[in-house]
């Protein structure tokens, strides 16, 4: 990230000397054939949601992109199952429009959305009865049969490595504005590769991942490691000097996960891909783990910590 910022800054230095101009590029990709997109996580028993899977289709980059198109992205009537130890567990398709209004409202609230503003009929394949045992170290395989196509993937749920402790410190340069930095300590397990992902939320906001939400332990393998956790910012806000800091008086939640390597690779490449803009960058192909499709089927082991940032 730092290198990207430096490249961008140097590019800005350069650009300030010249008058740049922009034009939209439009290309014909009408022959594009949509692919299946899978998003599914197997989380340990602490999760607020049962195992679920979103099955959509990709669409051409230059395609018209409106509500009707978005509604058509969801793939219905697929046969979705997850297998553990040769036991197959089918997932059931449920759409928002099938739910009672109160349930619908509650789910959308958990997703951080206002039910009045959501016009897309979300559909998901869900382990409604919570039948799938969510066990650490076990291998899970996914099979989706959609029409004539079969999509497969596999993952496992890694062992959880908890945050050891955390605390807040004022930002020395601007103590009066009430912004604080969150510090954490983790006791990493030695001689193995661990992968982490985190989400944050203030007050009643929904938990969201930071724009760079994953990290591996290559640097601090087996060590007691102190680090800062930045407050995740929603993608639709503009960043300022206080982005990433929490504020005194807030109730905050931190969701800390150990994740499977394939999930780390997926999010790492996805997040880097989103930042790869500019003249000195090259594209990054997002590395999923879905055969015959795009996306991620990832195991994760998470815990959510709730804390209060004391006032001065």
């Amino acid at each position: 990230m730092l290198m990207n910022q430096i490249k961008i800054f140097i590019a800005l230095i350069l650009l300030t000397g010249f008058s740049s101009c922009e034009e939209e590029i439009v290309q014909d990709n009408s022959d594009y054939e949509p692919q299946y997109v899978v998003e599914s996580y197997l989380e340990n028993a602490n999760s607020a949601f049962p195992p679920y899977l979103l099955l959509t289709k990709s669409l051409g980059f230059y395609s018209k992109f409106d509500t009707s198109i978005l509604n058509k992205l969801f793939v219905s009537n697929a046969k979705v199952s997850i297998t553990l130890n040769q036991q197959k567990y089918p997932l059931q398709e449920i759409c928002l429009s099938q739910l009672p209004p109160e349930t619908r409202k509650e789910i959308l609230k958990n997703l951080g959305q206002n039910s009045d503003s959501v016009v897309v009929d979300f559909c998901a394949y869900i382990d409604v009865n919570g039948a799938i045992p969510l066990l650490v170290g076990q291998s899970y395989s996914l099979e989706i049969i959609a029409g004539l196509d079969t999509i497969r993937s596999a993952t496992n749920i890694p062992e959880y490595i908890s945050l050891d402790s955390f605390w807040f410190e004022d930002i020395p340069k601007v103590p009066n504005l009430g912004y604080v930095q969150l510090y954490c300590i983790i006791n990493d397990k030695a001689d193995r590769k661990d992968y982490y992902r985190y989400f944050t939320a203030s007050q009643d906001e929904v938990l969201i991942p930071n724009f760079s939400s994953v990290v591996n332990d290559f640097f601090f393998d087996g060590k007691k490691f102190k680090f800062t956790l930045s407050k995740a910012e929603s993608g639709d806000i503009s960043f300022d000097d206080y982005s990433g800091y929490f504020k005194r008086g807030d109730s905050i939640r931190i969701k800390w996960c150990t994740i499977a390597p394939e999930q780390y690779n997926f999010w790492n490449t996805l997040e880097v891909s989103r930042t790869r803009q500019g003249p000195f960058s090259s594209y990054v192909r997002i590395q999923g783990n879905i055969k015959n499709g795009l996306g991620i089927f990832g195991g994760q082991n998470c815990q959510t910590y709730t804390m209060y940032v004391p006032k001065m």
Binding site: L2, M3, I6, K7, F9, I10, I13, L14, G17, F18, S19, S20, C21, E24, I25, V26, Q27, N29, Y32, P34, V37, L54, T56, S58, G60, F61, Y62, F65, T67, N71, V118, V119, V120, P172, K173, F218, F219, K223, K224, F225, K226, F227, T228, G235, D241, L270, V272, S273, Q277, G278, P279, F280, S281, S282, Y283, V284, R285, I286, Q287, G295
Partner: protein
Amino acid sequence: MKISTLLLLTIFLNCVSAQKTYTINGYITEKGSGESLIGANVYVQSNTALSTSSNNYGFYSMTIPEGEYDLVFSYTGYNNEVRHIKLDHDLSLNLNLNSGILLEEVVINSEELKKNVQSNQMGTQELNIETVKKMPALLGEVDVLKILQLLPGVSSASEGTSGLYIRGGGPDQNLVQLDEAIVYNTGHLLGFFSVFNSDAIKNTKLIKGNMPAEYGGRISSVIDVQMKDGNDENYAIEGGIGIISSRLTVQGPISNNKSSFIVSGRRTYALDIVQPFIKNSSYAGTNYYFYDLNSKINYKISSKDRLYLSTYFGRDVFVYKSKDRGFGVNLPYGNATGTLRWNHVLRKNMFSNISLIFNNYDFKLAASQEEFSVTVKSGVKDYSTKMDIDYYPNTNHHIKTGLRYTYHSLTPNLVNASNGEVDFSTKLETKYGHENEIYLQDDWKVRSNIGINYGLRVSNFIHVGPYKSSIDSQIYKNNELVKSYVVPEPRIVFNYGINANSSIKGGVSVASQYIHLVSNSGSTLPTDIWIPSTELVKPQIGIQYALGYFRNLNDNLIETSIEVYFKDLRNQLDYRESYVEDFAAEVEQEYVFGKGRAYGVELYIAKKKGRFTGWIGYTLSRTERWFEKIESGRVFPAVYDRPHDLTIVGNYQINKNWVFSSSFVYATGRAYTPIKSLFIIDGSPNVEYGPRNSARLEDYHRLDIAFIFDNKENKSKSFHHSWAFSIYNVYNRKNPFFTYTDFDTDVFSGNAQAKQIKVSVFTLIPSVTWNFYWSSNSKK
């Protein structure tokens, strides 16, 4: 060994001569400065077949039958000198050539111009720095590498940058030398300006392929830059003030005609101007600049011995500070080179040079926020020694032999981090290697119309520990042999003269490369990591075949050539799909290996003398790569692929004081990997890319012009000055510089829009530079 024995025998037999001969030798230099002239011609006026040319140190030697001769000494842009000699014993004759102060005084030398047709070289161009200084320049910064981009077969990495793609080769496949020292990073400011300060440079030679056996280490091309030696007759100060930088050069004799020096510096100041405006802000101290410092001294120990010590030191310095966040970044990087050379005339017809060479490219990043800090270091450092011997047994042979040893140490990203309590670091280690090279070549005039330049180079690379094998996890100790490679590299170019003004040339060359760089960007960056050949990374091999027709027209005033080439590239490197930088990982494990090919035809028409000079170059070419692990081995166009490339360059001497110059370039748009689709993850759109390099940006074209005012009459005074007015991109063409994607998407509300935007940066840019020159002698 059999091949080299045969080669030696052939050379020996070819050199045997029964006639009584004598040798004339000496140095050819510029009058007024004592600068040695490289590639100056010496020939017998009545028989131009008896000829030779000066080597890289201005030394010439010609062994011809006893007799009386009128010898002509000539060099482009200089007045010919004719000397009558009676050759009944060996002679030493040093010559000073006078540069043509006024246009009319320059004698057109047809023999020199025939070099295009008669030499046993292909794909070779020499650029005199005076030619370079007359060309339009972006922001007034005269840049020799950007002028090379105007030659056929050479294209720029991206607009405005000095990175070079030569005949489909990558930027790391060019051997860039400054006084024999390899320059690993040739660019300042992410490659927008080259490290070569035009005031310190004397000559630049480009060999696009079929390089003679004396060059090695890279598979694509050679860019051989020679620094000025320093004026050994007069003290002189010259410099210039431009929009973004200023230059100052001081040179003069230390001991008259015995020893001289030159010191030349350049520094940018574009962001120094904003310092007063940010000094009270959170960003106080933020700055960026680069500088270069070239220096050279030479000492003539005797008529047979000369010493040269040349150095270069250049740095980019980037400092970013945000006091409010307690955040700071310090990012210095740059090259340092040093070359100590000893020229010795072993015999009248034998010249040797022994060099000790040091070069270092280092990159450092130090960032801190509160008690957290991180430093990243990378670089490459070489210690070399080499010896070359030029042997001129007669005018039909110029034999050259030599050997070189280089000790490489290549530092990957060494990261040290601290959180204020505990220090962390990557466990990556510097890699070491020994590179040994030996060569023998002969430039042979077989008959008056047939010539061959043939030779053999044998290179060897030894990778030594410390190293941990990624194949079998074996751990190698310091200096323990890990892997050794030997590559024989035969080279041959033949020349068949159809008549006095036209010839056909052809050649085959094999070259190897043991030091590699894969850039993950459109241009070379300071963060790029050079790595050596290891057991995992095999040497790159390039085999080039070329055939050309060369013809001079209008009494040799116009040079034309058409060359076709095919390059077979093996053991090519690229990053694996979905590669993301990871400072903790060995970069060689992120590589995939494949093959490449480049082929094309180059047309060149040049007028090099007269009021109007210039050239037209056109290249039709393709450059492709394929890797088993990238898109299942699909052949894709390399990022260097430019099917059409046209340049038109013109200089016109309007009158004694004004020169008008212009350059026009047209090239097929750059290949890039298009975005194929969008897919939704976590409620946000993400992009899926299509096949690699399967789309192209718009075609590129641009016209630059310059007016140079240089009062020639004032040149006879001790102080004179000149102005360079330049306009880059005269008709304000909005060439795409890069593209980015823009999302305005809210999946839940159903409003979404995705766009791909092209950004043009280098629109019309005027600039002006003031140059001055002072000399202790009124005649320059």
